[in-house]
């Protein structure tokens, strides 16, 4: 039977993924990955490890552990900081998948003699005409293909996604029936190494803040900002623009960042024209199949949980594209990825550089 190393996070998804493989008769071992050195109330690796251990002990499989904190720091976290320094909104989870989980972790599992790895991602894979496809998870609320668009053929072939055709409540049910203590453990949200802590405080430890002013698109000052890196395009909360500015109606939204003058540009109302763009350019293009799709029916997400929207791609060169949407999209943020789909099939994506009309 195939020897599978399952990435165990201490959460319910990977726990159930492991249990499914055990039920199917695979030779399963758990691998706990530690990617961040700090152990605090925000990032409790010790607790997560114990949770994973309880799951593996219940399943009767070994749990080994491995540390990629150095690789994560160099290849994911430095990029994360660089992106914020450039005023962009990066997505470290995407890079973590391509650089750590499906590279370092995969290699480590192979060194251990594993035939394949498995993860608790809500995605599916399917072989079609000699190629593997990455499909959305069946639970539309949990689909994680957005984070995995950077995988190549070899990486997908080396991986199993046992819970891709399950829905979350079903996963929790299974976990409870199997006697996993973590059946009702809260889903992790946001960026793993930041956890529940204050984002500003976290970022301040690494990047000096440069406060500046908040202006409307016509140049009127309406407030002060703590540093452009703390804001994301389309952000509404936490701008601290008091009364007395604007028309007194409609919330303020971040429209743009002027890095040169260190100004945050805002506008009023969710319908503000400055919040919507039809076009974007993106780089670091990656196609899962290895080549550009020949599709009439292309849709794209501009962030995790965004609606798939009909679009057309123009390849500018091997790595750069421009994308035009049929309908304008809300707050396209540079640093996030644009990820392409045809139906349920995740085709690939690229990192957004610029949005415009």
């Amino acid at each position: 039977m195939e020897h599978i190393a399952v990435g165990m996070s201490g959460g319910v998804d990977s726990a159930v993924a492991a249990s499914i493989l055990v039920e199917k008769g695979y030779d399963v071992e758990g691998l706990f990955m530690k990617n961040w050195e700090e152990d605090s109330e925000y990032c409790n690796a010790e607790k997560d490890y114990k949770d994973a251990l309880q799951v593996c002990d219940t399943l009767g499989i070994p749990l080994r552990s491995v540390n990629f904190a150095k690789e994560y720091w160099e290849r994911v976290f430095q990029n994360f900081l660089d992106e914020y320094r450039s005023g962009r909104t990066p997505n470290p989870d995407i890079l973590c998948n391509t650089e750590i989980k499906f590279k370092e972790f995969l290699h480590y599992a192979q060194d251990l003699g594993a035939d394949k790895i498995a993860t608790g991602h809500y995605v599916r894979s399917k072989e079609v005409a000699g190629k593997v496809q990455l499909l959305k998870g069946l639970d539309p609320g949990k689909d994680q293909s957005y984070f995995l668009y950077g995988l190549n053929q070899e990486q997908i072939c080396s991986a199993l996604f046992p819970i891709g055709d399950l829905e979350k409540p079903n996963v929790r049910d299974r976990a409870e029936k199997l006697g996993f203590d973590i059946f009702d453990k809260k889903d992790s949200t946001g960026i793993c190494f930041i956890g529940e802590r204050d984002f500003k405080e976290f970022l301040q430890q690494y990047i000096p803040a440069q406060p500046g002013i908040i202006v409307t698109s016509s140049g009127t000052k309406v407030g002060d900002h703590d540093g452009l890196m703390y804001y994301t395009l389309g952000q509404r909360k936490g701008l601290g623009i008091g009364g007395g500015y604007g028309d007194g109606e409609g919330a303020w939204y971040v429209l743009d960042k002027d890095l040169e003058n260190n100004e945050l540009i805002v506008g009023q109302g969710h319908d503000h024209a400055g919040l919507y763009q039809k076009r974007l350019t993106a780089s670091d293009l990656h196609w899962i199949s290895g080549k550009a799709p020949n599709s009439e029916n292309l849709k794209a997400k501009i962030r995790y949980r965004a609606q798939d929207a009909t679009c057309r791609i123009t390849e500018l060169n091997n790595t750069d594209i421009s994308v035009e949407f049929e309908e304008p999209r809300f707050a396209i943020a540079p640093g996030q990825s644009v990820v392409f789909y045809e139906g349920d099939v995740c085709l690939g994506g690229a990192v957004i550089d610029k949005a415009f009309n």
Binding site: K50, P62, S65, V66, Y108, D111
Partner: protein
């Protein structure tokens, strides 16, 4: 399962298991009771005390039973709080059941200094001498190390301590059954033992003391163990430990020879399979059957996982809890560099092994190392 991790713990001897089972079934009396059930229980405990005392060359009223080596160590150290001389000399390769206690006690006013070891893990008497202060009350040095088996020059340390009126404690949990152990010959004032290291049950141990007046109790209550360890006695475990101690000392020469021959065979064959193997420790002063080997170019966590998958149990000094492969502190103290350190495994042979098993281990290692 092929078990080569006897330094971590040993399987319980079958005679010991039988004895413990019959006691759990039939002897439910409280040793403090005067009736016949109580007398039966008391007799078992006092028999065990004689067996253990004999195994380490002392008399029954110089030992008490504890929950294990950790508790025995703790009792010696915490007793210092009532003494005048509260400076301790120990060394950097002790078990956490010594080092962490000392560092915790620092917050209670105890002062200590640690001597280092040479590349073989041996302590020098001169180093200890240079750490002795006016108020040094205790020297605590393990008899043999758990990671590479180096035996320390305890008799010389005792001689030095006697000249300076200092008491000596030795954590000897690795030693019973692997070397002759005579507390009077060693001359120590305190010695800690743990039953599960010599084919007895877990959760029971021994504290030997030369003089009871220097000790205080960690457990306050019913006055058991001559007032030094309150709490109703764990009769079956105590009796099991007594028998285990007797069995290993009766078989001592045979067991030492067997361990030495496993070790010699394993080392010479391993050198053929993997000529770069580095054997750590002091070849002239070490416990038999404990082999600490570095495999340059390999990672211990991978080797261990592969051996585990093939059903061989070994261990590594590099701690690997929640994803942290940290170099072994003991090997680092010996000057082993980090790369070699994290390539190190410990094989500890024991009475449950046969030479066929050692050959199976060698052939599995050959497969893994030539893969």
């Amino acid at each position: 399962m092929y078990y080569f991790d006897h330094s971590a713990t040993t399987p319980v001897h079958s005679d010991v298991l039988d004895l413990m089972h019959s006691i759990q079934k039939d002897v439910y009396g409280n040793p403090s009771s005067v009736h016949s059930q109580g007398r039966k229980a008391r007799l078992l405990i006092e028999t065990a005390r004689k067996q253990v005392a004999k195994a380490i060359g002392t008399i029954p009223n110089q030992i008490i039973f504890t929950s294990g080596g950790t508790e025995a160590n703790n009792q010696v150290f915490w007793s210092l709080l009532n003494q005048n001389n509260i400076h301790v000399v120990s060394n950097t390769i002790e078990h956490p059941a010594v080092l962490k206690v000392l560092s915790e006690m620092e917050t209670h006013g105890i002062d200590y200094d640690l001597v280092t070891v040479n590349k073989n893990g041996r302590i020098s008497i001169a180093d200890i001498e240079s750490e002795i202060q006016e108020n040094t009350g205790l020297i605590s040095i393990m008899l043999a190390n758990n990671e590479m088996g180096t035996i320390q020059p305890i008799k010389e340390i005792v001689a030095l301590a006697n000249e300076n009126n200092i008491l000596v404690h030795s954590d000897a949990v690795q030693c019973l059954g692997k070397m002759p152990l005579d507390v009077n010959d060693l001359g120590v004032d305190y010695l800690s033992l743990s039953a599960h290291k010599f084919y007895g049950p877990k959760g029971i141990g021994v504290l030997y003391f030369k003089n009871k007046d220097s000790l205080s109790s960690l457990m306050i209550g019913g006055g058991q163990e001559i007032g030094l360890r309150a709490g109703t006695e764990n009769i079956a475990s105590i009796a099991g430990m007594g028998l285990a101690a007797e069995l290993v000392t009766n078989q001592l020469d045979h067991h030492i020879n067997e361990l030495a021959s496993f070790e010699a065979h394993f080392k010479s064959e391993l050198k053929t399979i993997f000529p770069n193997a580095i054997f750590n420790g002091d070849a002239n002063n070490k416990l038999p059957g404990l082999v600490c080997v570095s495999f340059p170019g390999y990672r211990s966590d991978i080797l261990m996982a592969k051996l585990d998958r093939a059903n061989f149990a070994v261990s590594s000094g590099s701690a690997c809890g929640s994803g942290n492969v940290k170099p072994s502190r003991v090997l680092s103290e010996m000057g082993v560099d980090d790369e070699i350190n994290i390539s190190t495994l410990r094989f500890s042979f024991g009475a449950s092994n046969t030479s066929e098993q050692v050959d199976l281990l060698l052939s599995e290692l050959k497969t893994i190392l030539t893969d």
